[in-house]
Amino acid sequence: MRMWFVCRFCCPAAQSNSNPEWEAKVLEYFKGQLREKESHSWVPSLNDVPLHYLKPNSLVKFRCLVQDMFDPEFYMGVYETVDPSTKANVLRCGKYKDVTECGVDLNSRNTVTAERQTFYCVPIPGESPWAKEISFLSAARVVPSTSYVPSRQKRSYEEDDDDMDTQPQKQREPHTEPHGNGDSKRQETEAPSSQTTAPSDCSSHLDLNFPLPGERGPACLVKVYEGLDSFKLNDTLEIYGILSVNPVLTVLGEEKDPSLLLLNPTESMETPEEQRAHDPPASLVPRLHMLYARPLQHNNPLLPSAPTEDQSAFVSSFLVEMASVRAELLAYLTHVLLGDGLAAEYLLLHLISNVYTRRDVLPLGKFTLNLSGCPLNSYTERLYQIVQQLVPCSYRLSMSLHTMNSMRLVPKKDYVANRLVSGALQLARNTSLFLDETQLEQGQLDSSGVRNITALGNLISWQKVDYDFSYHQMEFPCNINVLVTSEGRSLLPSDCQVPLQPQVTPPNMEEYLTTIHMAQFTSQINKFRVYLSLARTLDYSISDEVTKAVEDDFVDMRKDDPQSVTAEDLHRMLVVARLLSLSLGQTTLSRDGWMRAKHIDMLRRSRTEQQKSLNGNEP
């Protein structure tokens, strides 16, 4: 409340002096305020609160992905205008604003030109419903601070208020009902937001350029003033900024006098497509003037997001629990994978994998899993739904011939509209990409299909996507967990293939999986969610002693049969060992950990070999 107040007045304060010092002070003030405990939760979030409930020119936050970066623009940092009441010349500040007030004296020598850049931001693609819902609930507390409170939201605030402040991860504990109930609640709160999207339906020509099909939520044009170089495409950010939805923006955009086109060069620069992409109506794509942005390590609302003291406290408290949570999660996954404990172990390792560094072109830490031998008939779909319940970001790409041939996976620059047309592979870091190869049937891939498959292969092998800039390609590194489900071995490369060996064959698969899912309490699921996100962020090292042991081991293994273990196998085993240790909450590799890693890899390999001999024609 206090901050919101300040924000409304900080700009007029600048009128008196054009000293840039105040700008730094303003930023300092906001950063300081936001650092204060809990304060960031007072700010309404554009992700959750429908746009028309938010007051223009107020401070809002937005959790988003930088989808495109537009060209820098020059604006009037300070301009001179005539005050209509006093008739005196006044200097005004143009920072954090889209539109000037009153008539501007363009010839004034006091005009200061400054530079800013616009980012086109979209909500994090593939954000799981549960992540949205929880962050909405925690944000609901803020709504009473504005006068635009819909009664329904007030109720949800009262309902969840007591247990949320202290233990966000436990907030669902009182409700022991199965998860399905949460959905109905979400729909209720979503009702007003569907109103905001209504205008977008009537002006459906406006493509909001979301990476994934079927996404919704506000896209936003974020004006960035500071630290332009520190932002990168596909960064996930939590942006705090001033909301600008001035209807004038729309009017200025729409109003076009064709007769003036010939004479005025500035108007003819832009094609209508470009106009539409860069100046969409503010009611649909609000403008956000960034005060401060925080890069997000993860978008799991159950975890403290900033690396502060309370996070380390949170981590250390959770580490104690880690082993037990792991056991529970493993049991759960084993059930899901039809009683296959080894596959469950690998799936768990896959879910916490993360590209933690790159050595020249080699991404380290990636762990693409190929689950082969999946039962057909919607099993994979169900499996995805379960994965989706566990990770904050995910997307299932059904690799049918049609989608492979028609879908745009790789983002492409559209030079006519001057924007980057998004593709399904433009994902935030640590998104789980679920490739369902069981959907693939025999047939002809056309050239775009081949390109898509190549792009997926590149993504898996090098963790990079080559964006198509028409005249050249540009490489963007990414960090995406790819899980491939297939019948036989996948046609895509993978780090590790596990043939599924079902121990149970339930007559009705759907029912079976639903029952397993229902049997989990929400509190339990929440624990899993925290576990998976947390294990990924832990540090890891190998002591010299263990290094030596691993080396000896490798030499020994090669001595027996040099063909059996290659450098590639060692690569994989080191990754498995790393993930295995982390999954147990151990931050160093122990001898024991290494032996375990070797052991499960051996089991897996014997299983693949077995599979190979079983149906010898497999490539």
Binding site: N107, T111, V248, L263, S268, V361, I542
Partner: protein, 839 residues
């Protein structure tokens, strides 16, 4: 300083106007100022009229002008009054659309105007309002520059054929008088080295200084060549402003300054006719008047000054003056941008004869004036968007890849190295172990394979380009081609990826996914213009770079065959859809191939293992095998290396290895500046090496080296000299080339049956022993047939069985057939179906 003078003199669109002498120019200027059809502009103009300004009062710039104050006001060189600065032709690129000072960068104290008036008495010299440019001095300086500037070290292609010891620009003026193209391109770095102050003025106030330059040139030109007839007056087009920036670093301070940026054209608009002067005629009395278009708007005269009728003037379109204009969108070149961001684009306006000079896809350097225009003010709206639109008015285009289709383009590639950088590189080069250092810095994540890395390092540097076209042999290939073959999973692809990421013009393709068309070039019909467009493929795109081809063995034969030309002649010939041309493809090829049987079979030769045509194989300078060595010490080192990879922190990694950026610069520097030549000893050593190689084989009745191998040796030796930053190829270079060549040979051209190095495996696809064996079998067969007496026809199968029974060595069917074929070649017998007939 964004308060430009608007030159009030009238500008006419008159391309066909031929000014005879500079005198006439001046007279014209005076005419126009006397024929006062228009009111003088308001405040700026009054300032021009009394432009004696003491510069320090106006400018916060720390540079105080050192212009001599004894300039005589009455001197004919004095061009302080604006009316005389009129050009006889229009330069919309300099902003004939007059601009009011909207964008003020340095907030000047509002008292400046007062100061001007009060200090008028103090300053004796005249400067253009808002600048510190004194027209007379400026002109004088530029004329001096034109008359005196000599650049003996120039190697620019523009100056080809000029005498470097004579004043450069005077020769160019002479050229203009001959050719009649009235454009003088001036390299700004020349101006800078001649007169730094003039250069600063040019950069800061191009809108004022360039017309002054024009004037100076024309005066000089018509003095010297009074009889020449030009289409219009000479225009000065400066280029290569040293304040060259990439697009990303443009900021508000650059507005209205001259800049040079590089980028790629992504879109060009249609031609836009832009009105320069509106012609109005009174409907009542037919009195006509002209109004200059001001910032895109025409101030329509409300009253006819002749008959005083109001609102009687009508615009006559076909008597108004228009100029050509084109909007071009330029995107920053991929090399300039930081990783992880999207490229910026800038709008560029080309005027008059610069229209249609560039096409989408061209890489160009643009010199122009950076402009910012506020969004159109709407009289009905009090609120306006507080954003400016920026663009560049182009003065000069220079295509950087213009020469790629013919001849060298070394200079356009020139990367600017700072002094310190060069120092670092030279320091590195002087270290005795630089070769080992660099090779270990290459792909540090890939373990060992030292010789292969060394080979690739030499490939990155390349040999010296030699031109024998005068003796009829054309260009010699300077690029080194390398083939890696070996077991799957020996990080071949990773090595390729690394190289692809390292070199600026690298292309990465996979044999499986590429077609001949994709590699070479194809003709496409542009859907809009219906024009045939040549689209270049990977090989042409990697001209002067490295083309990495993965899964070389999976490539179809037809695709591979296009490589023949590229890998030796370094050109690509295309004849399709009415386009016949030869493109340069001076690319090094780095290919990786898997063995046919997926695992390398040590009992077979290279050819047999990878099944590539030997014609292609012989074009590779080095063929390396990447095999699993399978010994304990190696395993241990490998394990250590890999484990370290997984736990070392970033900093440790940095310490251990050379920075990739340094390596990049090192290679770029060496490729650009170092052109080693063979010295006497080295040539001798090469000859010896070659003779030795041939000797090895001749002892056993086979040839182990061909001239192609000698060429390879020379290239490798040159590349090694480049690594040392040495201008001479010395014996040590030859030694290393020999060693590497031998290593590669040992690995790939060893005859598995004898264990000897045998180059003929690569050149003919068959080892000498195999050839000998074939002959023996044929002889044995012949003998056997002869021993059978006079049987004119024999059964094929029986003959085969007989031969097998007779011979002590196992004879396969293949060998038997080969023997038959050999005998058939001798016209001894013929084979028809299942019978063999003697002749």
């Amino acid at each position: 300083m964004s308060s430009p003078t608007s030159t009030p003199g009238r500008r006419k669109r008159n391309r066909d106007d031929i000014p005879a002498t500079p005198k006439s120019t001046r007279r014209r200027g005076q005419d126009s100022s006397n024929g006062d059809l228009r009111a003088m502009p308001t405040s700026p103009a009054t300032d021009i009229a009394s432009p004696a300004v003491h510069d320090t009062s106006l400018f916060s710039s720390p540079r105080r002008s050192v212009l001599p104050s004894e300039v005589d006001m009455s001197s004919p060189l004095m061009y302080g009054t604006p009316s005389s600065r009129v050009e006889a032709r229009q330069r919309p690129d300099l902003g004939s659309i007059r601009k009011a000072p909207q964008v003020d960068l340095h907030s000047e104290p509002p008292s400046a105007d007062g100061a001007v008036a009060s200090e008028q008495a103090l300053g004796q010299k005249l400067v253009i309002w808002g600048t510190d440019v004194n027209v007379g001095t400026c002109k004088e300086k530029f004329q001096r520059f034109l008359q005196r500037f000599i650049d003996p070290t120039s190697n620019e292609d523009e100056n080809a054929g000029l005498d470097l010891n004579e004043p450069l620009y005077m020769q160019k003026l002479e050229e203009i008088s001959v050719v009649g193209e009235p454009v003088l391109n001036v390299n700004c770095s020349h101006v800078q080295s001649f007169d730094a102050d003039l250069y600063r003025q040019l950069i800061s106030y191009p809108q004022e200084v360039i017309p002054t330059f024009d004037m100076a040139v024309n005066e000089l030109f018509f003095e010297r060549f009074p009889d020449s007839i030009l289409e219009h007056q000479i225009q000065v087009r400066p280029y290569n402003a040293l304040k060259t920036r990439n697009m990303r670093s443009l900021n508000p301070e650059d507005i209205d300054q001259m800049i040079t940026i590089s980028g790629m054209v992504i879109r060009t608009s249609q031609l836009i006719p832009e009105m320069q002067e509106a012609f109005f005629q009174c409907q009542v009395c037919a009195f006509s008047t002209c109004v200059e278009v001001d910032r895109g708007r025409i101030a329509e005269p409300a009253v006819c000054r002749n008959c005083n009728t109001t609102h009687s003037l009508a615009l006559i379109h076909n008597r108004s003056a228009f100029s050509d204009k084109q909007m071009i969108k330029v995107q920053e070149s991929p090399d300039d941008m930081p990783a992880g961001q999207t490229p910026h684009t800038t709008i560029v306006y080309a005027h008059n004869d610069l229209v249609d000079k560039v096409q989408p896809g061209d890489r160009i350097n643009i010199t122009g004036i950076y402009r910012a225009v506020p969004m159109r003010e709407n009289p009905r709206q009090s609120n306006v968007k507080s954003v400016y639109k920026t663009h560049i008015d182009v003065i000069h285009f220079r295509k950087t890849d213009e020469k790629r289709l013919h001849g060298l383009d070394e200079d356009s590639d020139q990367k600017l190295f700072t002094e310190e950088r060069v120092q670092i590189l030279k320091e590195l080069a002087s270290k005795p172990d630089v070769y080992d250092r660099l090779s270990s810095a290459l792909a540090p994540s890939i373990y060992e394979h030292e010789d292969i890395k060394k080979g690739i390092l030499l490939q990155l540097f390349g040999g010296t380009r030699k031109d024998f076209s005068q003796t009829g042999r054309g260009n010699f290939r300077a690029e080194v081609n390398i083939l890696l073959c070996g077991d799957p999973g020996t990080s071949k692809s990773q090595l390729l990826q690394y190289v692809f990421n390292l070199v600026p013009r690298g292309q990465y393709t996979s044999g499986k996914g590429s077609s001949a068309v994709g590699l070479t070039a194809y003709v496409m019909k542009d859907p809009e213009t219906k024009q045939l467009v040549l689209q270049t493929g990977a090989l042409v795109l990697s001209d002067n770079g490295i083309c990495c081809i993965d899964e070389f063995d999976k490539m179809s034969d037809s695709t591979r065959s296009v490589l023949h030309e590229v890998m030796e002649q370094q050109t690509l010939s295309i004849a399709k859809a009415g386009i016949i041309c030869q493109l340069n493809a001076r690319t090094s090829v780095l290919a990786a191939a898997n063995p046919v049987e997926s695992q390398w079979n040590p009992k077979k030769t290279t050819i047999e293992n990878i099944q590539l045509p030997h014609t292609l194989l012989s074009r590779f300078d080095l063929i390396f095998l990447m095999l699993d060595p399978q010994d304990e010490a190696y395993d241990r080192r490998l394990a250590h290396h890999l484990v370290a990879l997984y736990y070392q922190s970033e900093e440790q990694i940095e310490e251990e290895f050379l920075d990739m950026a340094v390596l990049k610069d090192y290679i770029a520097y060496a490729r650009t500046y170092i052109n080693p030549r063979l010295n006497e000893e080295a040539s001798q050593a090469l000859i010896e090496a070659y003779v030795d190689m041939r000797k090895i084989g001749s002892g056993r009745g086979m040839v182990s080296a061909y001239p192609r191998q000698l060429e390879s040796l020379i290239r490798l030796a040159e590349a090694h000299a480049k690594v040392r930053f040495s201008d001479k190829v010395e014996t040590i270079d030859v030694e290393e080339a020999k060693r590497l060549h031998r290593e590669a040979l040992k690995q790939s051209a060893t005859d598995p049956r004898t264990g000897f190095v045998d180059i003929s495996i690569i050149t003919t696809g068959m080892s000498a022993t195999a050839r000998k064996r074939k002959e023996e079998v044929a002889q044995a067969l012949k003998k056997m047939i002869q021993s059978k007496g006079k049987t004119p026809a024999m059964k094929y199968q029986q003959l085969f069985d007989d031969l097998r029974g007779q011979s002590e060595a196992a004879i396969t069917k293949d060998m038997f057939e080969e023997a038959l074929r050999a005998l058939a070649d001798e016209d001894y017998l013929t084979v028809t179906g299942k019978t063999v007939r003697l002749l």
